[in-house]
């Protein structure tokens, strides 16, 4: 399995957010998307799942079910947690498992994986920001999908929960999944490659198509 983008560009609100981004992620690999605020990290992830239109360039996924689109084989963990405050923790997760096509998903095991099993019957309204995040992550555990697109996955998580998420990500990679994560901090994973969206353009530079942005560098 291999997810690749070539010469990708994204326009939002009539402005160019990024252009000329190319990358490739294979099964078992992590690509960390970094860059200053507004560099287009979130926009890149949303472009990959098709929530933002591709203005230029192309996205290809090889070695997966050709009947399904990238979005249908991907989990997208955005800034918002997609939870309903009036439903309980278990009901929230059960809904997403059912909607994403896994009616018989093991809800209890997924909740235990993120450490929320003791709060299963609590309405989600009473969860803290970090707990909401963890419940959102439980969705990725309950329904298996090969591609994980994570937008700031570590934000609001405490140290223990960050370790736990690191473990879940390592398990996902070991099973042959791939991860594309927009992040400011370290993900705690070995052999993370980095895609810097503001390699050339500084905070004050005007974006232009001639700038070569998506240079990939290998981090050890």
């Amino acid at each position: 399995m291999r997810l690749s983008a070539s010469n990708l560009a994204c326009h939002r609100g009539g402005r160019e957010v990024f252009a000329g981004v190319s990358f490739a992620v294979a099964a078992g690999e992590v690509l960390a998307v970094t860059g200053r605020n507004g560099a287009g990290k979130s926009s890149l992830l949303r472009t990959v799942v098709g929530l933002v239109r591709v203005a230029q360039g192309s996205l290809t996924l090889e070695g997966c079910d050709p009947e399904l689109t990238i979005a249908e084989q991907a989990h997208y963990l955005g800034h918002q947690d997609a939870l309903k405050p009036s439903l309980s923790v278990a009901e929230n997760l059960k809904f997403w498992a059912g909607f994403l096509g896994r009616k018989a998903a093991d809800i209890a095991a997924a909740l235990a994986a993120v450490g929320l099993d003791s709060l299963a019957d609590l309405p989600a309204a009473y969860l803290s920001a970090g707990q909401r995040r963890r419940l959102s992550i439980a969705r990725l555990v309950a329904v298996k999908r090969p591609i994980w697109l994570l937008d700031e996955p570590m934000s609001t998580l405490d140290a223990a929960a960050q370790d736990r998420l690191g473990g879940l990500m390592r398990a996902h990679l070991a099973e042959g999944g791939l991860i594309l994560a927009a992040t400011h901090g370290p993900l705690g994973l070995p052999a993370t490659r980095e895609l810097r969206l503001d390699e050339v353009g500084g905070a004050s530079a005007q974006p232009s198509a001639s700038q070569q942005w998506g240079a990939e560098t290998k981090l050890s």
Partner: protein, 222 residues
Amino acid sequence: MTSLGALLIRDMRLAVRVGGGALIGVLFFLVVVTLVPFAVGPDLALLKRIGPAVLWLAALLASLLALDRLFAVDHEDGSLDLLLMSKTPLELVVAVKGVAHWLTTGLPLVVAAPLIGLLLNLDAAAQAGLVLTLLVGTPALTFIGMIGAAIAVALRRGGLLLAVLVLPLTVPVLIFGVAAANAVLLGAAPFGTPFTILCALSLASLVVGPFAAAAALRQEIE
């Protein structure tokens, strides 16, 4: 099908929980209709004459009341992104949300109508005709309204825009709904003609509404 079933159950569950707004529509309906006899005065003949129109207007306003949150809530908490990414066609997702909305806000109006019709001096035959027209006509209100709800999804105060967009489109439903109810009441015109047109309007909106709303959502979410 499991996806759509899960969505239907979740939306209905949300509607009847705290802050869901399923009962707000019925209460609003009851309050508006109850106010009319106080405003018009104890003229039973007049109340009977305007009864169907009052009930239909109240039902129209009540069904609009909760409609602006149909997609806005899912948009604000990020659920809409995941619904859009789904393998299930967005048109079906939108249609199921509409069905759940009608079952929790439209159907209670139909059930409450005979009760409240007593206040307007409607007899049994008129009640039956009215309930039948509301049963057939309120889905049209929901499915026409969902187009406006989809267009206003990203706006913080979308309710007013929704009313401005949707109310003109509901005029045909209102005309034929009241015409059919009045036909039973006054017996001057046949019941069948306006009633079948009302059915046709509902069926057309069941098809057009989800497609138009899904197209609007795809544009708005960018």
